[in-house]
Symmetry: C2
Subunit: 339 residues, 2 copies
Amino acid sequence: PDEGARTAARERQGALIKPAGALGRLEELSVWLAGAQGASPPRPLERVRVVVFAGDHGIARAGVSAYPPEVTAQMVAGILAGSAAVSVLARTLGASVRVVDMAVDADTPPEVSAHKVRRGSGRIDVEDALTRGEAEAAFRAGMQVADEEVDAGADLLVPGDMGIGNTTPAAVLTGVLTANDAATVMGRGTGIDDRTWMVKCAAVRDAMRRTRAVLGDPVQVLATGGGADIAAMAGFLVQAAARRTPVLLDGVVSGAAALVGQRVSYRAVDWWQAGHLSTEPAHRKALDRLSLVPLVDQGLRLGEGTGALLALPLLRAAQATLAEMATFEEAGVSGPAAG
Amino acid sequence: PDEGARTAARERQGALIKPAGALGRLEELSVWLAGAQGASPPRPLERVRVVVFAGDHGIARAGVSAYPPEVTAQMVAGILAGSAAVSVLARTLGASVRVVDMAVDADTPPEVSAHKVRRGSGRIDVEDALTRGEAEAAFRAGMQVADEEVDAGADLLVPGDMGIGNTTPAAVLTGVLTANDAATVMGRGTGIDDRTWMVKCAAVRDAMRRTRAVLGDPVQVLATGGGADIAAMAGFLVQAAARRTPVLLDGVVSGAAALVGQRVSYRAVDWWQAGHLSTEPAHRKALDRLSLVPLVDQGLRLGEGTGALLALPLLRAAQATLAEMATFEEAGVSGPAAG
């Protein structure tokens, strides 16, 4: 981020016709956006792009989800048809959606499956999610997708996820990377019952044990305890930062990908804001480790990028107030009385 | 609110292609909006109107604010010019703004001052803010403004405030109506120093003593410890409910007006949501008494309707997801596995 633009933004905030600090966190956001864009006041966000990384997870066959695995491909179709939650929210809040199939266990349209590395990631409680080569390919694919989007003019990127069972690898990665145990990072995902919770807990514990052994190597962490969708998302987040493009993170899956991304590139976090706080326990742990404070807390636990999109209007509000409000001098408004 | 529409909305939420409850508070909001509109799914919000009730307060001359009183009229001009925070946020987030001068201590344009009852409300620590006749006129003016807006097609109303010193009567009314003492409801308004805080605290305490004596009579409460702007806002909120039009409340001034409105019409609260939580301590006390949970908490303390506007996209998101997402059946998506 550009320190000069940040300083200029902070000064302009202090001159706007409002009490100092009265716009609360919007002021801080406007400074962050100015720094990311290298411009004060920051420019309006005109091409906000959600990229939904889709993939199936072998662990879903172990019975960790309330939904059958075929729902992943059905929901990819739903997103493409514009009838999923992320599609509706993107339309309503001014963004567009792209789906990238990294490992869906079904055929998807060619424009979606160009980066696919396999059908379904491995069952992480007993085997690696990916070979090392697949993990590297997926990570690079995510980087390439970020490049494509930035080259096409994206000025804000939002990572989304779609994959039955994907909160299990997210919990595994978060547990391992934040040094929390399985029970601390476990959540109910799409809404599982107590019996399924016990199955999921055992799976997370076993997968965490396998993943902890490779902790020093971020790509191997993705190969062992992650999946192709999360690996791609990690590459996407790292490359967005490298391309100086701001990011609104979504929920627990993007939080896990961000933790891996942080291991790859420590300063990448400067380019990310936490869009929302999910009800999944691992998400709070991940954000704490990333030192990010979520913008919105509406009790969502849907993924797809939906939580991040709810924060988009706040970012737009921050941009607009800094760019469009008058200063005391411009408006001829009296400042505070001398103390 | 329409119980049939609420039930239909709740049922449709359960059928949408997402885990039950995964949209968190958006689901509850969508049901509230359906009930308010008497329609499931609810209709898009197409004419959202912010009405800023402006007025000066004699108490400002006692030195309770960081800003001189002439700022009220200057900021009215700023709002009309489109350069104030509320103007920018309304443009950015899809709303329009009307200013109603109830008691600005200066001349304002005729289209703004049609309902004005006086120049400056009285100094409430030593005298009534308004005569009873003025309080009644102001309350009725607020009702008339709500009628005008609803008749013009408003489908969501947002009360805004503009007036140097107005957090003092807001604290007084909130303290008296929630049975809290002056120090508990006192805040720093636009950002006062310690010496000004002590002056304001004494003023709030004295005004609360005067107002507590008339507690059983809501209109007299407005006359004794309020002001023409807050009286009009109270009438506006009550009439919005009577006209079955949903409202997003803003900060501490609208919270105080809402407390008075609740005394006038207990069920009016069903038509209101709390847009945001202000940093002013009285605001939390008011929302607790109204049993409202704020949608957004970004540390704002600006008034004008700005905090409420930040919550508007959440309401739009709630409407759109319920209205536009596909159901499991429509999309051919498999539901949860049988337990």
